[in-house]
Symmetry: C2
DNA sequence: ACTATTAGTTATGTTCTATAGCTATATTCG
DNA sequence: CGAATATAGCTATAGAACATAACTAATAGT
């Protein structure tokens, strides 16, 4: 491809500052950057336990809510029902949870964690808490609570 | 596949509350949920301008920093150099930016927005600001500033 | 000059997310 | 009751963001 040449390096940018200074005015930009960091951090922490972020999240909900259905799980995690299927499949394949038929509604499954699932969740949860801790050293407990509060006012949650 | 049946619906969960109550203790979980909302919101706002979030972000940086290189752009947006290539390609294809050879370093390109690129950025930026505004109605200006501050202490940025 | 580094590129793979359509079962309501 | 409608789970597929490895060309270091 033919490329033109920048004959003169032009004037230096009017106002100095970081290259992304304009973008930093967007809450979404700041949230996304922080999210990326927390996500890759979490993924690394969970990897030794054979869990991804989505499978860990699902496992967590199932451990804490025995007999939850896939639809309830999808709603709780704000994801599409179709996307829960493979997540549940992979948790079931490694015997961390089981699908059980519900006599009163044969369309749905009651999801239950196995003993191994509970143990795996507990261990992974501790590792994740520790990994987050390292990332949040700059925030006091009050600030962390405030961050959670501000974020929940963006995401109505319930 | 053979499925067992849940003979007894078991006891109701010990402590009540949302199904994801355990997960809400993780900053990463709260950030991710808020991030998903802001991202899909931003994507919808930018779509009419033919921009995705990543192309808009890149365009923004290029408009504000004429003659920035792809490596600088990648560093500013915290992304891999390899992933900037297709983003820059697509911005160039629709004539919003141009790649210009740098006489002093023939390895790199100086990226510059075209007039159309500047106009497109400005229009998209306004639409995005408006869309974010609607999502952040529950946060006062002070709270938005505080959120940005807290997030930047997670992401060291510079 | 020889080596190491940098800029851009290509190819590839994973993960997350979203949509449409399907089957089986439940529910609603005329 | 029976027909229409809704729900639960599943399949297939696609887009987008993100990451890694390996390559070429050009530059910088020694």
């Amino acid at each position: 491809m033919v490329r033109k040449t920048a004959d003169k390096p032009e004037e230096t940018p009017e106002q100095a500052g970081p290259l992304d200074r304009h973008l930093r005015d967007y809450a979404g930009y700041n949230i996304k950057r922080a999210s990326n960091i927390m996500q890759s951090n979490a993924a690394k922490a969970l990897d030794p336990y054979g869990l991804r972020i989505t499978t860990f999240s699902a496992l967590c909900v199932i451990v804490d809510n025995p007999d939850v259905t896939q639809s309830q799980l999808a709603a709780a995690l704000n994801m599409e029902r179709s996307n829960t299927v493979l997540i549940i499949d992979s948790l079931e394949e490694i015997n961390l949870i089981g699908r059980f038929r519900v006599p009163t509604d044969r369309r749905s499954y009651a999801l239950r964690a196995t003993l191994a699932g509970i143990k795996r969740r507990d261990a992974a949860a501790r590792a994740l808490a520790k990994a987050e801790e390292e990332r949040l050293v700059n925030l006091s407990p009050e600030e962390r609570a405030q961050l959670a509060d501000l974020l929940r006012r963006i995401d109505p949650l319930d």
